[in-house]
Symmetry: C2
Subunit: 169 residues, 2 copies
C-alpha cells in the first residue's frame, strides 16, 4: 500500500468470481454505474447504456446463456453494458469508450469493497440476452460485469510485465 | 473530496489540453504505462503496445498529423497506444481492453498530478503515424494520450447525467 489509492486500486483489483450471499444496495449500484459514466468518450457521445439484473428469474435465465453461468448465479448483481447504435459515431472509438467505462465501474466497485469480473464469452449469445431483457433494438451487448461482495480476500498475484514499451523510436 | 480517492479521481479527471513547459521524468511515464497494463483483457491477452514520444523532431512531425497538433506540441509526452494484431483474439474485446488500459493511464496520470487528453482524430492518419515511428507492421494505432503537468487547475464542470440505466427489466 502507498498513499496513492488510485494506483493501489489499479494494481490490487483482480477478477472476483465468488460472492457472499449478500445484496448490494441500489444506491451502491447507482454510484458504481455513475463512476462508469465519467469515462471519456469521443465527442463526449457517452455511447454506453446499462441494464442491471439482480437476483431472480431473469438472472437465472441469463446464467444459462454462458459457460460461466455459475459466476452469474453467485453474483448478486450483474451490470450489462451495451453500445447504443443511436449514440454511436465511430465504432472503434465507441468500443474503447465502453472499455474505459467498464474499468471505471470495476475500479469504483473495488474502492467500495466489492469485487467483480468482466464476462465476455456471453457475447456469443448477445441476441438471446437482448431478447431475454427486452432491450431496445439499438442496444448491442458489450460486457456483463458480475459484482458482489467477495467471499474472501483475493491473494495478490505477482506483477505483470509491462510489455512492448518503446521510448522515442 | 471524500475519503475515496478512487471515486474522487474518476469524478475529478478532466481532459487537459495545455501543459507547463516541464518534462515528465521517465520513471513517472513508466509508472503510468504500468498502470495501463493492469487493465483486464480477454483471456489476459494484453493486446496493448506503447510508443512514447517526447520533445523533439518526431513529436513535431506527429503534431502535423492531426487538427489537434497544438495539444501535441504543448504536451511534453505522448503515449501512443496500439493494438497488436499478433496478440489479438477478438477485435471488439481487444479494443475494449485498450479502452480500459487508456483509462488506467489517464487515472494514474491524474493521481500523480499530471493531466492529459485522449486524442482520437489522429486515427485518420494512423498509417502515417506508424510510418513516422517505424512501428511494427502488426501495430494499429488506437489512441494518442497527450500528457503533462497542467498549466492551471481545471475547473470541475457539473456532473453528467447517468444515462440509460434500467433496473431489473
Amino acid at each position: 500500500m502507498s498513499d496513492n489509492q488510485v494506483l493501489d486500486a489499479i494494481h490490487a483489483r483482480r477478477s472476483v468470481r465468488e460472492f457472499e450471499d449478500r445484496d448490494v444496495p441500489d444506491e451502491i449500484i447507482e454510484k458504481i454505474i455513475e463512476a462508469g459514466t465519467w469515462a471519456p468518450s469521443g465527442l463526449n457521445n457517452q455511447p454506453w447504456r446499462f441494464i442491471v439484473v439482480k437476483k431472480g428469474e431473469k438472472k437465472g435465465a441469463l446464467a444459462k446463456l454462458t459457460h460461466y453461468g455459475h459466476i452469474i448465479e453467485s453474483a448478486p448483481v450483474c451490470i450489462l453494458v451495451f453500445l447504443d447504435a443511436k449514440a454511436s459515431y465511430d465504432r472503434t472509438k465507441d468500443i474503447m469508450a465502453i472499455g474505459a467505462c467498464n474499468q471505471n465501474i470495476l475500479l469504483g466497485a473495488h474502492s467500495l469493497g466489492l469485487g467483480g469480473v468482466w464476462l465476455g464469452e456471453i457475447l456469443k449469445k448477445k441476441s438471446d440476452v437482448k431478447e431475454l431483457l427486452q432491450a431496445p433494438a439499438s442496444y448491442e451487448l458489450m460486457a456483463v460485469l458480475a459484482l458482489g461482495y467477495p467471499t474472501q480476500k483475493k491473494r495478490t498475484s505477482s506483477r505483470k510485465d509491462a510489455r512492448g514499451v518503446t521510448f522515442n523510436p
